[in-house]
Point group: C2
Chain length 417, copies 2
């Protein structure tokens, strides 16, 4: 065994033992432990800010970009945000123990499917140290043990936050090993986590495309991945023009850097007011890359090339295409969507229902902005990500997505004939 | 692209197109199509039996074992069984379209989680040709397209069954590509299926350990795997003695070759009648491999070695250990269980509930035989397997396990502030 195999094996075994302890901990105790962790984060403010200052100084000297430095930075206000986010998670209802369904058989056996935690969750993330607290809180709230592996830039901050959190949960009688932080910044440790089937039940990567791609490529452990949000809005000929403009502008321009932002606008060739729609986007400061039909409508548009239909801009740029109605729009979406969030704007309910049935995306919306693609907006509380995979959990993943179920069969001595 | 990459890519693309068509097919049409497939299997009896005879002859010449030849063989009666199993699947309620939950937000948006098919399912199996029909029926009933890859011994039988099934579904207007059979017996095609992420959504291996292990090792596509059933029965000191004997003997001896069979019996050292329990197993023809305490109880027992606690016998053999109560039993189970089915026999409900909470298995049973671990016994109808993984589906996997969900958001023009 290499040093990193040993490290991950040891952490995994301790996490499994902690997970077993958590299965006998009450909901109230988990909530109290998280509140204690939040309190400890506040009382450790001096240590955490000092650790973060060391990370910032080293990272600045290493030439980290301003954008990355901003992600890394913690001040009093951000620390308060981290602590209160933990309290919000503590206040969420615990999904564990809920009976999903129940079936009494003719032989008297009672079968129930009962929600249980997933087990040991590995979270691999980049420079934001708040993920250390967020992911630990969501994992623990749903009864899981977590193994956290953050970016090397944030190692001192992560250590300080991790210490405060474990101090907090231990003060309420929970096992310290329920929240573990990989202390080495060697990337080989990530490779070992990805291979630790049997010890780690699921890996959740939180970060940019290259991180997620590496994790998906290498992992032998199942991955709950969030890939691109190449999201479409289709404006049907029956769309209300006011709604169409409001939704298109909001879906693209409210925040251009979020995964729920629209990247491609598909306009029915029979929609009566395409120029006004494009004008509203252009007036809002959006670059419009269109096909030939679009370019004829407004001289401010530029020509889209074939790559545009597969690009997540995360910027004030939109690709726009005129389509020959619903089927043509669905064909485009089937070919180019990343299966995150696709929207139909239409007054004809039959058109909407066919779009809803046929668009094969985690989230399909009718007459609403794709920027609502967010666990909080869905009423789920905090989310750990938006899954673009099809298995286990799809779309916004909150506490329930961090659980599975077991079958509980209660009998009175039945044997099978 | 190699020949096999081309083959699998082409099949995958055709399956995805068929899947898109299926999303607009009604429940009734799917049921009619399956009934038509069953009828066609009956009317094609001569062709199917001739194809099977060719497989049998070639396999016999190749020295296939009698047990394997028996799995391969189809006669009139078995074909009737295959056809009527399809009709039973056709009669099951369709899980697709069910609303899992619904949430109306303060802004008027209505969020629903709606069951949808998984997509394209790849099924890799061995010599039993009935799997061709079973898996296709379960996949199609839940709206999925399937790509089937059976063992080379059964290729002629599989082709004949596949032709009858596609003829049947096409006669009811369903796309032929909804059920595809890999026509080559080259194993490289399996390797390509396992790598076909984006085309195949999930791989379900049905077969022995070496097949499942290969699939799990190589797959880049998610795998719904059924591994060993190293199942435990723990007899608590509070167990009713009559129930204990009946459950232990049934769990081991009813059918020894099924994955729900008990492999290890754990007896509380304070259980008052261990000798009677062992005697009942021995009298039923079971070999008992015990620890020292067990061997003292009956001279017919033999000594267990350390491998016995991790062995799935699938035979009239049981390993038996005396344990120091519930916690000791749970420790043994945590170390040796394959997380399939574990059972507690106890009259004390507190003991049972702690076992149910702490035993981390897909199925936990109280006072019932582990041989009930079967989708039919759970009231699920036909099953595609029993999942020992934790994600997506756990325990018996029937139609619902072949679905996922999408989020459907209905608005009236809402934009996000």
């Amino acid at each position: 065994m290499t040093e990193h195999q040993k490290l991950v094996t040891d952490m995994g075994q301790r996490a499994r033992a902690a997970f077993a302890v958590l299965s006998n901990v009450t909901d109230e105790q988990k909530a109290r432990a998280l509140n204690a962790a939040a309190a400890k984060l506040r009382s450790d403010e001096a240590e955490i800010l000092a650790a973060n200052a060391a990370d910032m100084e080293r990272s600045r000297a290493n030439g980290l970009s301003d954008a990355m430095l901003d992600r890394l930075m913690i001040d009093s206000e951000r620390l308060e945000g981290i602590a209160s986010a933990i309290e919000q998670v503590a206040a969420l209802p615990d999904p564990v123990g809920a009976v999903i369904d129940r079936n009494e058989r003719p032989n008297g056996l009672v079968m129930e499917r009962v929600r249980v935690p997933l087990g040991v969750i590995g979270i691999i993330y980049e420079s934001r140290p708040n993920v250390t607290a967020d992911a630990a809180a969501l994992g623990l709230r749903s009864g899981n043990a977590v193994i956290l592996r953050g970016g090397s830039e944030a190692i001192e901050s992560n250590r300080a936050i991790h210490k405060a959190m474990t101090d907090g949960i231990v003060s309420e009688g929970l096992p310290e090993d329920a929240i573990q932080l990989v202390q080495t910044t060697d990337r080989a440790a990530v490779g070992e986590m990805l291979k630790a089937a049997g010890l780690i039940d699921i890996i959740i990567p939180r970060g940019g495309k290259s991180l997620v791609a590496r994790v998906q490529q290498e992992a032998r452990v199942p991955v709950l991945a969030h890939l691109d949000g190449i999201n479409h809005t289709y404006i049907d000929k029956t769309a209300d023009q006011e709604k169409a403009v409001a939704i298109a502008v909001n879906a693209k321009m409210r925040r251009t850097g979020v995964c729920g932002a629209m990247e491609t606008l598909l306009i029915d060739q029979d929609y009566p007011a395409p120029a006004a729609l494009l004008g509203a986007l252009l007036d809002a400061g959006c670059e419009v890359r269109g096909d030939d039909a679009v370019m004829e409508l407004d001289s401010r548009t530029v020509s889209a090339d074939s790559q545009d239909w597969d690009t997540e801009y995360l910027a004030p740029i939109v690709s726009v295409r005129m389509v020959g109605g619903l089927d043509d729009a669905l064909d485009h979406i089937a070919e180019h969507s990343s299966h995150h969030t696709d929207v139909v704007v239409a007054e004809d309910e039959a058109v909407a229902n066919r779009f809803i049935r046929s668009a094969d995306s985690a989230i399909v919306m009718w007459n609403a902005s794709s920027q609502f693609a967010d666990g909080g907006e869905f009423g789920l509380g905090a989310e750990i990500g938006i899954s673009t995979g099809r298995l286990h959990a799809r779309g916004p993943v909150a506490l329930e997505g961090l659980t599975t179920y077991k079958w509980v069969v209660r009998g009175t001595g039945q044997v099978r004939p």
